[in-house]
């Protein structure tokens, strides 16, 4: 679909004397948000020379964005099917609590690699199961995804609180996990960042180049047509929400690795953060259109903005204002551009 519209745009633009590659670039969905990101980086680099665009700062922005990036990749798939998942923060907590409780009863902070591996499996399994369950309910078509996952948000958090009595248990993460994935580095690049990059690359390829990705996009565009073409829509939805759950489980592992605790109360706004990033990245809330690359840019815009504003010493309240304004402006520009293209 993207290739088609690109071709059309290229054909229309043929009358102006603009180099072909510029025209093609301008039709890329991600270009404009990428321009905003570059502009922000340039601005802060000039405003705080020697402080902002440094190896240290780039690394820390990437580390802090890693978990949101992993969640954002899953959310991109969900939103492309014209769905939404509000439950991700709670699912992350539930997966972290399940893995953490196992760890506590099998050695606590000093547990060995075997326990660590099993904890990872538990977190991924709990996340996937919860996601797939929500997907199955969405697939019945009786309850909208907004409500299904709103219910899931409360239920998952409630179960996590029941299991722990509402307090973060001590010894939820092994020091092995913390010193490897949490704080370890390879050639100066933190494992957290490498893991997030691999997840992004793999699922970017899945969305762009496999039948699974094609079906996901097709469901978002026109579910009825897809169903008539003989593709099982329900099964695909279960898989997509299951994938979101799997990545929330992975997020739980990453959280335990870097924070060493389940932070039951610390994930209430993960969903808004991640949805903001996906929408900033040009994925349509109405489904059928979106890309993982866009989500990467969408995750980094707020991250760069908050870090940059702290570095140049702007009062905190302005940071929230700035992120809000950039969100609305970015989506506005994106819509304008789409309209122009459609008219052409």
């Amino acid at each position: 679909m993207t290739a088609q519209s690109e071709k059309a745009a290229a054909a229309v633009g043929g009358r102006a004397a603009v180099p072909d590659w510029v025209r093609r670039a301008a039709t890329l969905n991600e270009l404009w948000t990428f321009v905003i990101l570059v502009a922000l980086v340039l601005f802060f680099t000039i405003a705080a020379p020697g402080k902002f665009f440094t190896t240290y700062d780039i690394t820390q922005i990437a580390v802090n964005a890693a978990i949101y990036l992993v969640l954002g990749v899953g959310m991109t798939f969900v939103i492309i099917t014209a769905g939404i998942d509000l439950s991700i923060g709670s699912v992350l907590v539930l997966a972290a609590v399940a893995a953490g409780e196992y760890n506590i009863h099998h050695g606590g902070a000093t547990s060995g690699w075997g326990t660590v591996a099993f904890c990872v499996v538990i977190a991924l399994a709990v996340g996937t199961a919860w996601g797939a369950l929500q997907g199955a309910v969405v697939a019945t078509g009786k309850v909208p995804p907004l409500i299904v996952t709103l219910g899931g948000l409360g239920a998952a958090l409630g179960i996590a609180e029941l299991a722990t009595g509402g307090q973060d248990p001590a010894g939820a993460a092994s020091t092995h996990l913390q010193n490897s994935l949490g704080f370890g580095k390879v050639l100066g690049i933190p494992w957290m960042v490498i893991l997030a990059a691999v997840v992004t690359a793999v699922f970017g390829a899945v969305l762009g180049g496999t039948r699974f990705g094609e079906h996901t996009l097709a469901i978002g565009s026109n579910p009825t047509a897809v169903r008539r073409a003989g593709i099982p829509v329900g099964r695909q939805l279960v898989k997509v929400y299951g994938l979101m759950g799997l990545l929330a489980g992975l997020g739980a592992v990453m959280w335990l690795a870097s924070y060493g605790t389940t932070s039951i109360a610390g994930h209430s706004t993960d969903n808004l953060k991640v949805i903001t990033a996906v929408v900033l990245g040009g994925t349509s809330l109405f489904g059928g259109r979106g890309s993982v690359l866009g989500t990467v840019i969408g995750v980094f815009i707020p991250a760069v903005l908050t870090t940059g504003l702290i570095v140049i010493g702007v009062q905190q309240y302005w940071q929230d204002v700035a992120v809000g304004v950039v969100l609305v402006v970015a989506v506005y520009i994106d819509q304008l551009r789409r309209k122009t293209r459609e008219r052409a």
Partner: protein
């Protein structure tokens, strides 16, 4: 089956309490000849405690001390607390206690105004109310209010942190959210006290909305802008955790000193392991004990202190094994 059995057990328990109460009050009145009605001896008086969060070690410590003190004074004392920090959870609890018409009530209200009507009602029916830890804005409620002197706590934190920083460098406060009376008072005391050290620069306060991930990114961004950062004052446990992770990611753990409020078991563990360098402990045991004393005084017709601020103490790795300091560690059970 099960419900019937438990109800029977409850009835037996109620019966026992009533019998004990009657016996004790009979004792009290025979001892005290001049007592008229409710005033007289503290002995046998029915006192209830409702805390903010049942499972919080701060409140557990307070409850343990209050219970011990009440037992020593021969009071009929029981305690309960909300499952969460939520008005809609605490109010039913308060209403059920009110229905039992206790002589005295110790409460940590979770909201400054929403519980006022219920508290007014229970007070007008003759129960003496003592506000412990948190308060309500309506000053007519409560014969006494006992809480930590939070401004002083901020000062204690500032002095301990300044000492560890060798009185130079930048320092920042990362708190939960603006507009919370206790944390605002701590920040005020902290900032004022830090002003006494000419070598230390206080950066503008940041708020993380209780999200550790936000605190982690904030502390790392602050390090980018101020490489001379030497100390952080954390608003609560979640914030402290985020700061610790942020400093570890940046490879600056231990170089940047972290002070946090309270002395809960996991915080004491962090102090031991070197994640935190200063804990500013409140004295919940003193709050509980003094509240019971004040109520006893009121029952005996003595004068009551309207407002009491309890002390705070700074705990570092150096003094944490000293019994006069380690007695401030909060308990997770009596």
């Amino acid at each position: 089956m099960r419900s019937i059995r438990s109800r029977r057990r409850l009835l037996v328990a109620v019966g026992t309490v009533l019998a004990l109460g009657a016996g004790a009050s009979a004792c009290g009145s025979s001892n005290d000849s001049g007592g008229s009605g409710s005033s007289g001896s503290a002995k046998g008086k029915k006192v209830r405690l409702i805390t903010g969060v049942k499972s919080d070690p701060f409140y557990i410590t307070m409850t343990c001390a209050a219970q011990e003190e009440a037992k020593a004074k021969g009071m009929d004392f029981t305690a309960d607390g909300s499952a969460q920090w939520d008005v809609s959870v605490q109010r039913p609890l308060l209403d059920s206690v009110a229905a039992s018409r206790p002589d005295g009530l110790l409460i940590s209200p979770v909201d400054t105004s929403a519980l006022t009507p219920s508290l007014k009602q229970i007070q007008s029916s003759g129960t003496k109310v003592a506000l412990v830890d948190t308060t309500v804005t309506d000053t007519s409620i409560g014969i006494t209010r006992i809480s930590s002197d939070n401004e002083k706590g901020g000062r204690v934190a500032a002095d301990a942190l300044a000492k560890l920083m060798k009185e130079k460098g930048s320092v920042i406060v990362i708190s939960v959210k603006p507009g919370v009376s206790t944390t605002d008072a701590r920040i005020k005391g902290f900032t004022e006290e830090m002003g006494k050290y000419p070598g230390i620069k206080v950066l503008p306060t940041l708020y993380d909305n209780d999200l550790p991930a936000t605190a982690a990114s904030q502390i790392q961004s602050t390090l980018a802008a101020h490489p001379d950062l030497g100390g952080v004052f954390a608003g609560n446990t979640n914030t402290g955790q985020g700061i610790a992770t942020g400093l570890k990611q940046a490879g600056r753990q231990g170089a940047v000193k972290v002070a946090a409020f309270d002395a809960e078991p996991d915080e004491v563990a962090s102090l031991k392991s070197g994640t935190l360098q200063v804990l500013v402990a409140q004295d919940p045991a003193a709050i509980g004990r003094q509240a019971v004393d004040q109520l006893a005084g009121a029952f005996e017709g003595k004068s009551v202190t309207k407002s009491i601020g309890t002390d705070m103490v700074a705990i570092t790795k150096d003094n944490m094994n000293d019994p006069s300091v380690s007695k401030y560690f909060y308990k997770s059970q009596c």
